[in-house]
């Protein structure tokens, strides 16, 4: 039995009939066609699928699409929707905060939330803030630098 799901994603309204068991990440990628969020584990550990739901970052493999019904979702595609990179994106670029880029959309979403909650984080606070997002390439150091640079830029 499919259910109607109403979502607002990156400012656009999406209405679809979906199976209740459809994970939100699969909805975003396969139904809404937003492949920025990635699937790294499907078990809510790696954070590659991180998106913001009603302003709070969530691992979108950890909930069903129908559970997000009525909510406002921001994915990485919505961060630079105006065509201008966000300050966190610029910082990741300048500081080489990514290599293969697979974790990056989720990492940027988590980092943005971190600065929203704490605009002047210490190194330890940054590491804590991105601890739910795995990166296998960077050793996190340039990501820490990026978040610090974004904080300095007043992101």
């Amino acid at each position: 039995m499919k259910q109607t799901t109403n979502l607002r994603i990156n400012g656009t309204s999406y209405v679809h009939e979906v199976e209740p068991r459809l994970l939100l990440i699969h909805y975003l990628r396969e139904v809404a066609g937003l492949t920025g969020p990635h699937i790294g584990c499907e078990t809510s550990i790696c954070g590659a699928c991180t998106v913001a739901i009603d302003g709070k970052v969530v691992k979108s493999c950890a909930m069903f699409a129908v559970q997000a019904d009525g909510s406002d979702i921001l994915t990485i595609e919505g961060v630079a929707a105006s065509g201008t990179l966000g300050a966190m994106q610029e910082a990741f670029w300048n500081e080489h905060g990514l290599q293969c880029g697979f974790c990056t959309p989720g990492m940027i979403m988590a980092s943005r939330q971190l600065l929203e909650r704490n605009p002047t984080p210490t190194e330890a606070e940054i590491r804590h803030g991105i601890d739910g997002n795995l990166c296998r390439c960077t050793g996190y150091q340039h990501i820490v630098n990026a978040v610090q640079a974004a904080a300095k830029a007043g992101a």
Binding site: E19, R21, L22, H26, R29, G33, L34, T35, G36, H38, I39, G40, C41, E42, T43, I45, C46, A48, T75, I76, E77, V79, A80, L85, Q89, F92, W93, N94, E95, H96, L98, Q99, C100, G101, F102, C103, T104, P105, I108, E123, A124, I126, R127, H128, I130, D131, N133, L134, C135, R136, C137, T138, G139, Y140, Q141, H142, I143, V144, N145, A149
Partner: protein, 776 residues
């Protein structure tokens, strides 16, 4: 922090921010799972829950009739597909037939048994549960040393001793050296199985055009051209009708330097059903079915004089191969043997490898591939020798380094080290940590009862793979440079970067050589229909071999540009610089765009020149390159919990000339993270029945941001004479240098209670038990 570049500046050596990044930071890059082709179906694979079992029967009928399922295939259906290839050869090597689906028996947990194709990936996954396999479990063996014991279960019944190969290598007179030694130190040292764990799992999409008998295979691989050749052979397709495309690749670390059953299986399925098919590996499958790394049990003996002069090194190496030979499986431990002398003047070497089958997923190349194991061994042995002789670990290293005047240095294992100043990074690292003061701090800490350790590792690595006679495939790399009629530059590299950033570093090189803005250059890779044959990206070879090929192609083009310039300026005294040809007599100039335009319009041509502005070079390296460096780790151990805190980590690497310091730092950080992961947390643990009990991210401890120390990096620069760029390679350095520094540090911390050695991973539980044992 990246720098802003003005057009006239040289770019090589600058921290240019990456040209790959805009698509990656906006979520608009296309990884293989992002592909959506019209009519595309999805494949899911049923995998064995047993490490060893006979398959009595498989009932696929319920799965076949499940709504949405298009086809189900089992072993007999794919009997016509060639085996998964092993590219390495050793004398007497036993290579089991590696069918793409198990037939009759399964050999490890995760072994592919059946494939379901459906309209939707959820439906395909549902249908897997409807397949009934009647297994008759048999005894399994997962530990390579147990597999060698008499009466151990035979992984492959035809080879009851579980030995795939033995290999002996010797240099100098090891027997004599050990007989004459004043001191001999022995130690068993393990390098545990690791899961490479790129953030993107494997995956592929296959599309077959029956009318043209052509296959397009998108795969998350490090070796598109080799994959094309080999998967084409497996499927009986004509090579030029197979096109392999690597879309964005989300990390590889060696595990995508391979040809996997699933790449052929997905292609086979697409050919059978006449529709594009996608298979994406789940993370659980990635743990179970993608190759693992390491898997060594090493027995070392070091011979020395009482003054600390090393004389000889002996190694018995037991390599856990797993159940099959993947592309390079048996070659990996031979790399360990080649690098076992490290940076020292060991003139007498003896090594024996036993390659052992186990009921586990195969091991193969993982970041460093044989060289971290070798470095770990020799660096642990140097520390054990220092302890035995009551020498300082820095002093014993400085005493035994190969001297600066001895290059090229012929090792006892048959290598020729290209260039080096091995003491320089060690001295720099000692300065950075203020070594003398640090030892004083340690003395005070010990007085207070604290367990503080200082660990040194001085590593060398065999990189820039490599001369073709010494590699399983060709060891060269290719590059094409095309200049359009408008003067814009396209570089096609046979390397296949997947995070390393060669779209940037190669553009830096091309922009410098042609004197054009970097934005005039694009770098393409990873599509066999577009790029000339190439080898791929692995073994720290991308820039050292692929970059050198690019350099020579650019050199050819520079010569051609100059000839056109001479013709157009009607002068034989012309300089090509800054993107223009200038007549040195008149000062008249023609731009690269004018020259390129002329070369295609071809109204006039220089003598003996063809139209067009394009050059291709295949560059064969005359040798490997040998980066080196020194890492120092300072640790402190919590007596109550066994927790190891890394309070300081200094990495001084010499990777030759540096094209982009920002990217080099990134490679070192990431490499150290993987080395630290091995040192402290990561291990693929199989139980006695062959179940992988660290088979998910809940149980397998990939380093998180809070687990990583700040990594202080520095460099010394010794250009390699092997390639014209003077680069040595840096992709694996961090991993290779790290683990011995950390283990040496922890052993140093635990030395007051009398601890002599500890194996990785040094989890709190293990460290605590070692401490308890030492107290008892």
């Amino acid at each position: 922090m990246s720098t802003t570049i003005s057009v006239t500046e040289k770019l090589v050596g600058k921290s240019v921010r990456r040209r790959e990044d805009p698509r990656l930071i906006t979520g608009t890059a296309t990884y293989v799972d992002d592909l959506k082709l019209p009519g595309m179906h999805h494949a899911c694979i049923l995998r064995s829950p047993h490490a060893a079992a006979k398959i009595r029967s498989i009932d696929i009928s319920a799965a076949q009739s499940h709504p949405g399922v298009v086809a189900v295939f089992t072993g007999p259906d794919v009997a016509g597909v060639g085996p998964v290839p092993c590219g390495a050869s050793l004398p007497g090597l036993r290579v089991p037939h590696h069918a793409i689906l198990a037939t009759g028996r399964v050999y490890y947990v995760g072994h592919a048994v059946a494939v379901v194709v459906a309209t939707d990936r959820y439906v395909a996954a549902d249908a897997l549960d409807l397949i009934e396999v009647d297994y008759e479990p048999t005894a399994a063996v997962a530990d390579p040393e147990k597999a060698l014991e008499p009466g151990a279960p035979a992984v492959h019944p035809e080879w009851p001793d579980n030995v795939s190969f033995t290999y002996h290598q010797e240099g100098g007179e090891p027997e004599k050296a050990f007989a004459e030694a004043e001191v001999v130190v022995k130690q068993r040292i393990t390098s545990q199985r690791l899961v490479p764990m790129p953030m993107e799992t494997r995956g592929c999409v296959a599309e077959y055009h029956a009318a043209e008998k052509s296959l397009t295979l998108w795969s998350s691989t490090q070796i598109p051209h080799l994959l094309r050749t080999l998967v084409g052979q497996m499927l009986g397709l004509i090579e030029n009708r197979v096109r392999v495309i690597t879309p964005e690749v989300g990390g590889g670390f060696g595990c995508k330097l391979n040809v996997y059953a699933e790449e052929a299986l997905t292609s086979f399925v697409a050919m059978k059903i006449g529709k594009p098919v996608k298979w994406i590996e789940s993370r659980r499958e990635n743990f179970l079915c993608t190759i693992h790394g390491r898997g060594h049990v090493d027995y070392y003996e070091i011979a020395a004089k009482r003054d600390g002069t090393v004389l000889g090194l002996r190694l018995k190496l037991i390599q856990d191969l797993g159940a099959y030979q993947q592309l390079l499986t048996p070659a990996i431990p031979t790399l360990s043997v080649l690098m076992m002398p490290g940076l020292y003047k060991f003139r007498n070497i003896s090594a024996d490898i036993v390659g052992v089958f186990t009921n586990c997923v195969p091991t193969d190349a993982y970041r460093g591939a044989g060289r971290p194991e070798a470095t770990h061994g020799v660096e642990r042995m140097m520390d054990l020798l220092a302890v035995e002789l009551k020498m300082d670990p820095a002093e014993i290293r400085l005493k035994n380094f190969i001297g600066n005047d001895e290059f090229p240095y012929a090792t006892a294992t048959g290598l020729s080290y290209d260039s080096g100043d091995y003491a320089a990074p060690l001295k720099k690292a000692l300065d950075l940590v203020n070594y003398r003061e640090l030892r004083e701090d340690q003395r005070k800490a010990r007085e207070q009862g604290r367990l503080m350790g200082i660990g040194i590792s001085t590593y060398g690595e065999l990189c820039a793979f490599g001369p073709s006679p010494a590699t399983p495939a060709g060891g060269w790399e290719s590059a094409t440079v095309k200049i359009d009629p408008s003067g814009k530059v396209t570089v096609l590299t046979g390397a296949s970067p997947h995070g390393q950033g060669e779209e940037t570093t190669f553009a830096q090189i091309a922009a410098d050589e042609l004197g054009v803005p970097i934005d005039d250059v694009i770098v393409l890779h990873g599509d066999t229909a577009i790029v000339q044959y190439g080898i791929g990206t692995f073994g720290s070879r991308g820039t050292a071999v692929g970059g050198a090929a690019l350099y020579f192609a650019l050199k050819d083009l520079r010569a051609k540009i100059k000839k056109f310039g001479e013709m157009m300026l009607e002068s034989d005294d012309v300089t090509f610089s800054g993107g223009v040809c200038t007549c040195n007599k008149t000062g008249n100039t023609v731009s690269l765009a004018q020259i390129a335009g002329m070369s295609y319009r071809a109204m006039r041509l220089p003598v003996n020149e063809e139209p067009g502005m394009q050059a291709t070079r295949f560059w064969e390296p005359p040798n490997f390159a040998f980066p080196f460096g020194a890492h120092i780790a300072v640790t402190e151990i919590d007596r109550e919990t066994g927790h190891v805190a890394v309070s300081r980590y200094v990495a001084v690497d010499d990777c030759g000339n540096i094209i982009n310091p920002l990217l080099v730092a990134g490679q070192v950080h990431g490499g150290v993270a993987q080395g630290l992961g091995q040192s402290l947390w990561e291990q693929a643990v199989y139980d006695d029945t062959g179940q992988l009990i660290t088979g998910e991210l809940m149980d397998y401890a990939v380093p998180k941001a809070t687990m990583m120390p700040w990594i202080e990096t520095a460099h010394t620069t010794t250009p390699s004479p092997v390639n014209p760029l003077g680069v040595k390679g840096v992709g694996e350095a961090g991993t290779i240098g790290c683990s011995p520094a950390v283990v040496n540090s922890v052993v140093d911390a635990l030395s007051p209670p009398g601890v002599r050695h500890i194996d990785m991973p040094m989890t709190p539980e293990k460290v605590w038990k070692v401490l308890e044992g030492a107290r008892a």
